[in-house]
Symmetry: C2
Subunit: 170 residues, 2 copies
């Protein structure tokens, strides 16, 4: 099981980024996203509505305290992987990480508390350049699943037939 912990959501500024974080988590094979920061039911509903229409068992939840979540997942023997510009290289560490079945992936948040670096088993960088937690999450999941997540099926959902020019539903 892969869970994603998205830190420090801000209701006004992060609406779209946080939604994207949830949808990417679902589409690329994670099972759950937990948001901290502002409590935002519009955000949770918009992610959970995608699940309703497009299938699968993904859930979006809110928690007030990231420490509580991290400790809870540590107790359940999850590997804690924090995606950051400053960590060890994704492409070098992924083989070791792939051996673990249960992972909590942490993504920022504007300012990530120092504590996160200490609480995590891995601080992992997807390039050492500034870019996007959405892109970092997408590449992490793709490297973890070796691309197999791209053809994942989502039971009970709408389905698209890939086509060169048209929008076709099956």
């Amino acid at each position: 099981m892969i869970a994603v912990l998205r830190l420090s959501h801000r209701k006004k500024r992060d609406k779209r980024i946080s939604t994207h974080a949830g949808l990417v988590s679902r589409a690329l094979g994670a099972d759950k996203i937990i948001y901290t920061g502002d409590e935002d039911n519009v955000l949770l509903n918009s992610v959970n509505n995608v699940v309703k229409h497009w299938g699968g068992k993904f859930t979006a939840e809110y928690s007030k305290h990231y420490e509580k979540i991290i400790n809870e997942y540590k107790k359940k023997k999850f590997l804690i992987v924090h995606l950051t510009m400053y960590g060890l290289k994704l492409e070098k560490e992924i083989r070791k990480i792939r051996k673990r079945k249960n992972i909590l992936v942490i993504i920022g948040g504007e300012k990530v508390p120092k504590e996160i670096y200490e609480l995590s088993d891995y601080n992992l960088s997807v390039t050492s350049q500034p870019h996007s937690e959405i892109a970092a999450l997408a590449l992490f999941l793709d490297y973890y699943y070796k691309g197999k997540e791209l053809s994942r099926k989502f039971p009970h959902g709408k389905r698209i037939k890939p086509d060169a020019k048209h929008k076709i539903f099956i």
Copy 2:
């Protein structure tokens, strides 16, 4: 050369998503991003400022008309690749696409005009699930470069030494 065309930027709602699109383009090996939609100098400055501090030759520009840009790149013999939920599968088409050196990658925008599907040489899907143009762009660039973009050097910029626990600049 890879250029990215980001459609229909909205100054109020898309500030962060459009910035991420620019930074992901740069970090993962594209050479340029062109925004259409609202003209937004704050956006252009924030992307170009990252280039100033972090190195390389990436540029962010604005254009009023996407048709103009697409036709201009077609004349220069660029392959036009539109990333969309409804297209042919990335993982099946990427080998053919990789043979081409010059590519214009198009990403939406809330509502993508039908015309884009016709003007593009490829409509390409990164999963057929709803997620994020940022994630789709990241995966496209990573598949195109076969992961080599992750260790790309950016001349004259700040540099980070990958580390397990600390923020270290070289």
